[in-house]
């Protein structure tokens, strides 16, 4: 099972906590998926409001590790301050670092991401950067102190799957010892299986489960696909070929023409 910053988790699924029809369905989805990590965020709260405490109680009952994010941050300063507030609230050095660079695609800002990753690492954070599959960016993130990389499969919330399989495969080959997580863009369990077949360590998703007609059942579907894809990776798949090759032996076939 994957190890993130010396912590082994018991699942290859990291599951978001947003957009579920109800808290009860969220809890069911986590139970049936077996997800080991839940992503969470920080948002404004008014005096007397109990939304924060209620959500805290809910996720505490899930019994999973928490990965706070800096979702929606577009500047380094904003991301760093959000991370610091999240560390105090959730009592963890883990941070899913998002520095958004483009409003339509929610593509990471690679320049701000590296700068923020360095600042947070120097401040004692263990950074999980939401990044693209760009090899140079990923190399800079590792030099900035990241020991996990989380490239997107496709833009957040699209469900388009792995848009650049070549790039993701290349990243796996270049960083064989760095835990790699496909974060964002997955819509179906088959896409999660594909990430596993490429040798990725985990996937992080939210919308695909939360917006399914039956989130808990979809969560279990993802869990099974991750198992299947990982087994395939460990089993050393056959090489594809262009020409047909009979699997049934020719020798001994009855002559009936």
């Amino acid at each position: 099972m994957p190890i993130f910053y010396e912590t082994e988790v018991n699942s290859r699924l990291m599951l978001g906590t947003a957009q579920y029809p109800s808290p009860a369905i969220l809890a069911q989805a986590f139970k049936r998926s077996g997800a080991g990590i839940a992503t969470v965020s920080v948002r404004r709260e008014a005096g007397g409001e109990r939304a924060g405490q209620d959500f805290w109680d809910l996720i505490a009952d899930l019994g999973v590790k928490l990965l706070p994010n800096t979702a929606g941050c577009h500047s380094v300063r904003e991301a760093v301050t959000t991370a610091q507030m999240a560390r105090e609230l959730f009592d963890t050095p883990w941070i899913k670092l998002e520095v958004i660079g483009h409003a339509d695609t929610l593509q990471p800002d690679p320049f701000g991401l590296v700068e923020a990753a360095r600042i947070l690492t120097d401040d004692g954070f263990q950074v999980f950067p939401y990044c693209t599959e760009d090899l140079v960016l990923c190399d800079r993130l590792i030099k900035a102190g990241c020991r996990v990389l989380m490239p997107w499969g496709a833009p957040i919330g699209t469900g388009l799957g792995l848009n650049n399989v070549y790039g993701l495969r290349s990243l796996r080959a270049h960083f064989p010892d760095v835990p790699l997580v496909v974060d964002a863009g997955l819509g179906l369990p088959s896409q999660a299986a594909q990430a596993m077949e490429l040798g990725y360590d985990a996937v992080l998703l939210n919308t695909a489960v939360a917006k399914a007609g039956d989130p808990a059942t979809m969560a279990e579907g993802f869990a099974r696909a991750l198992d299947a894809g990982r087994l395939a990776f460990e089993a050393d798949p056959m090489e594809p070929r262009d020409m047909a090759a009979p699997s049934t032996p020719i020798l001994g076939k009855a002559f009936l023409a």
Binding site: G16, A18, Y20, V42, R43, G48
Partner: protein, 65 residues
């Protein structure tokens, strides 16, 4: 004193961040704070004095992806 709390204008009698949080009814709520875009740890709220025009952010745990 006029300040900005979570993006909205607010008139406060408090002189410190801790006083403001009491005034707003946060009590022992699970919150984190920033003043003028800089994080202020819980232990520093008593010492964090407020100045007119300060921008205060008060956040709590929420759902995220």
């Amino acid at each position: 004193m006029k300040i900005i709390v979570n993006g909205a204008a607010h008139d406060t009698a408090a002189t410190t961040l801790a006083g403001l949080l009491d005034e707003l009814g946060h009590g022992q709520a699970k919150i984190a704070t920033a003043v003028n875009e800089a994080f202020v740890p819980a232990a520093m709220r008593e010492k964090q004095t407020l100045t007119m025009g300060d921008r205060i952010e008060i956040v709590a745990p929420r759902q995220g992806g």
